[in-house]
């Protein structure tokens, strides 16, 4: 969808994933799309350096999310919304993993 613009399918998937799912960590993005973990980490760090994402540690996990102070956040969000419309239905489900809580000890 936006590969021509972003020049990286890994970056595109990471951005769309965070756009849909909210705060996310590199390993869950890599696992969801069967991507190389270090490639995902590398792209997330580049996006952070560019001010598009920011990260914070929660326990031992570094969570990345959209930087609310990014000047083009609203416009970029609308572009990602549009891009999502073109993602095939089967792949779109990958961006919508379970986010609601599950009680400790509850069998799957």
């Amino acid at each position: 969808m936006l590969e021509g613009l972003l020049e990286s399918p890994v970056k595109e998937r990471a951005l769309l994933f965070i756009h849909v799912a909210g705060p996310s960590y590199a390993r869950e993005i890599a696992r969801t799309f069967s991507l190389n973990l270090s490639s995902v980490q590398n792209q997330l760090l580049k996006l952070e350096a560019a001010g598009i994402l920011y990260s914070r540690l929660r326990g031992r996990v570094r969570l990345f999310e959209f930087n609310p102070r990014y000047a083009f956040k609203a416009e970029f969000g609308r572009l990602l919304d549009k891009a999502l419309e073109f993602v095939p239905e089967g792949e779109r489900r990958l961006y919508q993993g379970r986010r609601r809580p599950r009680r400790t000890g509850k069998p799957l």
């Binding site: 350096a49 560019a50 001010g51 609310p68 102070r69 000047a71 083009f72 956040k73 609203a74």
Partner: protein, 179 residues
């Protein structure tokens, strides 16, 4: 160059001067502006310069290397001083709004470009608005109490960011402390 005991303001002036000599346009933002405008009532240790052209990143790094700074990840560190310098990529903005007016301070022939007091307040308020950071609210108050601030601009910008409720907290505390 030896930088032992250099103040944040003098270091900012020195870095600003070296950048200008290399033709690099950069503006000091963030907590360092609070330190300068409050005469260190809040002491920042980060000098965040926003570059006006992303391609100047290498030239900016070269200017710091000339002063004896070494790159550590995204920061630059000098063995003589606890202050860290970082270059941020454009745009120079506060939230979704571009910065329209840049202030300057000078000492001798050195000139530093930095956020105006009004934009410094908005910059700190942005951190309070978006991350609920109370320290940033305190810093915004420290600057607002010491400098003339264009409150109409602060109110218009806050409304455009959808933050009128948090603006009310700032204005209430501003009025209380000003009494």
């Amino acid at each position: 160059m030896k930088l032992r005991n250099i103040s944040l303001k003098n270091l900012a002036l020195l870095v600003g001067d070296r950048l200008r000599r290399r033709g690099v346009e950069a503006v000091l933002t963030g907590g360092a502006c609070v330190s300068i405008y409050t005469r260190n009532r809040y002491q920042s240790y980060d000098l965040d310069f926003v570059l006006l052209a992303a391609e100047d990143k290498k030239a900016a790094g070269d200017a710091l290397a000339e002063l004896g700074f070494r790159r550590e990840g995204r920061h630059f560190r000098h063995p003589d001083t606890p202050f860290l310098v970082e270059f941020l990529v454009p745009p120079l903005s506060i939230g979704a709004a571009p910065v329209q007016e840049i202030s300057t301070i000078s000492a001798g022939r050195r000139v530093l470009r930095l956020l105006s007091p009004t934009d410094c307040v908005k910059d700190r308020l942005a951190a309070y608005y978006f991350w609920n950071d109370r320290q940033s609210l305190e810093q915004a108050l420290l600057v607002a109490l010491r400098h003339p601030i264009d409150m109409k601009d602060v109110k218009t910008w806050s409304a455009s960011e959808g933050m009128t409720e948090r603006l009310a907290v700032f204005l209430r505390q501003f009025r209380e402390k000003k009494k």
